[in-house]
């Protein structure tokens, strides 16, 4: 048994002894090395090791939670006492029950033993490559900030209902953020990021180049006319805008609180028949993959939307208990908080036609590479500034746009998806194509 599992088991026993009816202890331990970029240079390197342990104690269906950033037994004892005391005063709720254990099947490709030997020098070299590759695209590129991080960790869970599991994972992730500066013209911010579990898949250059191309592409902007029509979201915009809205709408907690427009729509159309969305936490090597979720339950390949029809919400055990059904193993989060709900790998299968063909079909429209907007998750209404985008007329991309706002309703737009590109981009745990939508309301400056 690992030290982490032993600490979890110790805390569960302590919680039961202190008066808890049920207890769950989730712990994480890891070390990471990060190198930061700032102002077109290497800024600082950082290495740190951390331990976290979180206790959920249930007493007479009241829930208490406490976490501690140490595996020291005295610190754990204090956290157990606090969690049980909180459970005793918390409101009672019959849905506050732990899950029973289910068979686990190890997901492949999320731990690379070679990562144990990944050095600080290698992290530094990758950060340098990220900077160099971005600036090599165009001398007008300026990197405001960026980061390369390597991490190795273990998570473990023990519950009084018999769940006992642990898993190791390695990860490498990087991002680059900045703009292009041409004399007195400064472009909008742009950024790119990516990640992998495997040492031999660490390749920061594509994200660096894509960032730089987007930043340079947002120079030389012109105003565009106001119109209502076709909008093409690039994979980055799909991930940033559309995916987050769908995630909020299929969160069973939002559905139960009456904050999702998808409430009562299981088995009914919520999107165009062109659109299918999967949540697959079992994908080998996927950034969002793991053998078990924050509550120790096995991940699945879960259809959320199939050809436009809503197939499932994302449940953790609490929301599943409320709806008298099984969790979809979508419990998410760290040992520092109670299990939330979130996707694992968010996948939209691609279409058949290349992006160029889709652009050629557009009479008047907008290609959106980045939209600065905060969609209202409840209504789906959004109104944002196009920070990276191009005006399309008569099937051709005319020019980058400025002072252009895009408004609409994302839930209505899901129903107006007319095509998906053949090209699909992996952005960390998102696998998404370009999406063509109708009904975007464009206000030129």
């Amino acid at each position: 048994m690992s030290d982490l599992l032993a600490a979890c088991e110790y805390a569960v026993k302590k919680a039961l002894k202190a008066g808890a009816d049920e207890a769950e202890v989730f712990a994480g331990s890891g070390r990471e090395t990060a190198v930061f970029l700032q102002d077109n240079d290497i800024k600082i390197g950082r290495t740190q090791a951390s331990d976290q342990l979180g206790i959920r104690a249930f007493r007479k269906t009241g829930l208490g939670f406490s976490s501690v950033n140490s595996l020291d037994r005295k610190r754990i004892d204090s956290a157990v006492t606090a969690a049980v005391a909180l459970a005793s005063t918390a409101p009672r709720d019959p849905a506050n029950r732990l899950a029973d254990p289910l068979p686990l099947h190890a997901v492949k490709g999320i731990y690379d033993e070679a990562a144990e030997g990944f050095t600080t020098e290698q992290a530094l070299k990758n950060a340098s490559t990220l900077l160099r590759e971005a600036k090599a695209v165009d001398p007008r590129i300026t990197v405001d900030s960026g980061q390369f991080e390597s991490a190795i960790g273990e998570k473990a869970i023990v519950t009084s209902t018999g769940i006992q599991a642990s898993e190791r994972r390695s990860s490498f992730d990087w991002f680059v953020f900045g703009m292009a500066v041409d004399g007195s013209e400064v472009s909008a911010f742009q950024y790119e990021f990516d990640a992998t579990h495997q040492v031999d898949e660490v390749d920061v250059a594509p994200a660096a180049r894509l960032f730089a191309e987007k930043a340079v592409g947002s120079l030389g902007t012109k105003k565009c006319p106001s119109f209502k029509g076709t909008v093409i979201f690039t994979p980055g915009t799909v991930q940033d805008l559309l995916a987050s809205t769908v995630e909020a709408a299929v969160d069973a907690g939002s559905v139960q609180r009456g904050m999702s427009p998808f409430a009562g729509k299981l088995g009914k159309p919520v999107a165009s028949t062109t659109l299918t969305i999967l949540d697959d936490g079992t994908l080998p090597g996927g950034i969002g993959s793991s053998t078990f979720d924050r509550e120790g339950l096995p991940h699945h390949n879960l259809p959320i939307v199939e050809k436009g029809v809503l197939r499932s919400y994302l449940y953790n055990t609490y929301t599943a208990n409320k709806d008298k059904r099984k969790s979809t193993a979508s419990a998410d989060g760290s040992a520092r908080s109670v299990p939330a709900i979130g996707p694992s790998n968010f996948i939209i299968p691609p279409g058949r036609r290349p992006l160029d063909d889709l652009v050629a079909d557009v009479k008047q429209g907008l290609l959106v590479t980045r939209l600065s907007a905060f969609p209202e998750p409840v209504s789906g209404n959004f109104s944002g500034v196009v920070k990276g985008g191009a005006y399309i007329e008569k099937g051709e991309i005319r020019h980058p746009v400025r002072e252009t706002m895009l408004s609409g309703n994302l839930y209505e737009m899901l129903g107006s998806v007319t095509a998906l590109s053949r090209e699909q981009q992996k952005i960390a745990n998102y696998f998404v194509p370009h999406i063509v939508l109708e009904g975007g309301s464009v206000t030129g400056g």
């Binding site: 102002d39 909180l86 904050m259 905060f374 206000t443």
Partner: protein, 373 residues
């Protein structure tokens, strides 16, 4: 130039836990506030969902440095929020009320108790449920103190952070130049005399630099200073401003704002509306972002049509945009009624940070994002 600028290091022990410290209130009492709020929202006809949130951060930081900083800092930073969801016109819409401060119970609820906040959130949700979308256009807008806070923080504050300036922010090299109308004086202060209970209050930053009297970023329309840590202060040849902040011990200090605000003017609050022939009154800050090029995007909670000096129809889901410094140059009225009103939630520049922002009613030109017919 690499290195650290000299400063007078902070020493001593400081605490901001309020007149009625939260440590004297039981968990049960705080839970009762949340449950009473939730119940008050839910019992209202037409409300389909309710959320009430109590959150408090109790921070203690000790900073010691080789150049003599030796400071013990203790803060209590609570915030409380109510969200009511109403249904109307086939859509669900949110009304929200939130407050966040540095201090205790009295500071947190000084503008009204939890039930008054619940009522305000419900009233807003019910009104928005009947509201229509605005038609997008460039327009005269009157921003309320909350929106002025968002403008100060997002649209101006981030562009003057020393690290962004070094990377090529739109204000690089513009110290001494006109960037706003004469009416605009903008400050960032960890210790604002206008209201020490603002959520971004700190006595010293996380490099151990005292916050002192704060920084005048724009003075009567002219750019005077950027916001610095010790490193960018040296690089850009300006005094250290005490803006290096780290959320936790695992975070490295980076340049962050504290309380960022535009000083009040001499118009009466009502006069700004009465003097506006054709425009919009924008109330309540939603989310916001701004760019290196000064282009910003703000969400507004409520947008009212103003015609011939009278406030009229309410619109929903309005976004405000424009070029920050064009907007600031177009400011032609600022009222006297100052307050901080951006204290709930966090600024998220790589790490979380509690900040605040504020001002009085301010009239200017901006683009409204709405729907085309």
């Amino acid at each position: 130039m690499a290195g650290l600028a000299d400063r007078k290091p902070a020493t001593g022990k400081f605490a901001a836990t309020g007149k009625d410290p939260l440590s004297k209130h039981s968990f049960e009492e705080k839970m009762a506030v949340v449950r009473e709020t939730d119940k008050a929202v839910r019992k209202t006809k037409g409300i389909v969902s309710s959320t009430a949130l109590w959150r408090e951060f109790l921070d203690r930081k000790i900073i010691v440095s080789t150049d003599g900083a030796r400071v013990d800092l203790q803060y209590c930073k609570p915030d409380f929020a109510v969200i009511a969801v109403a249904e109307g016109g086939g859509e669900k819409v949110r009304g929200a009320e939130a407050c966040g401060v540095t201090g205790g119970w009295k500071e947190l609820f000084r503008k009204g108790d939890h039930l008054e906040m619940a009522k305000a959130a419900v009233t807003q949700a019910q009104a928005l449920a009947k509201a229509k979308h605005v038609k997008g256009e460039r327009a005269t807008v009157i921003l309320d103190p909350s929106m002025v806070g968002l403008l100060s923080h997002e649209a101006v504050g981030h562009t003057v952070e020393g690290d962004f300036v070094l990377s090529g922010s739109v204000v690089k090299g513009k110290v001494g130049e006109r960037v706003a109308s004469d009416l605009v004086t903008l400050r960032d202060s960890g210790n604002p005399k206008e209201d020490p209970a603002a959520a971004g209050t700190i006595f010293a930053d996380d490099e151990g630099t005292p916050c002192g009297a704060g920084t005048t970023v724009i003075e009567k329309g002219f750019l005077r200073s950027y916001l610095h840590d010790r490193e960018t202060a040296l690089s850009l040849g300006q005094p250290v401003t005490g803006n290096a902040r780290a959320f936790e011990h695992t975070d490295e200090p980076i340049i962050r704002m504290t309380n960022t605000y535009i000083l009040p003017g001499d118009w009466k609050d009502d006069e700004v509306v009465e003097d506006t022939k054709d425009g919009y009154l924008i109330k309540g800050a939603g989310g916001g972002q701004a760019d290196a090029n000064g282009e910003f995007m703000f969400m507004a909670q409520e947008t009212y049509r103003v015609r011939k000096g009278v406030v009229g129809e309410l619109f929903k889901s309005v976004t405000l945009s424009g070029q920050t410094f064009d907007l600031l140059k177009s400011v032609d009225a600022i009222s006297r009624g100052f307050k901080f009103d951006l204290g709930s939630g966090f600024c998220g520049k790589f790490q979380a940070a509690r900040v605040d922002g504020g001002g009085a009613f301010l009239r200017c030109q901006a683009i409204l994002g709405g729907r085309q017919g």
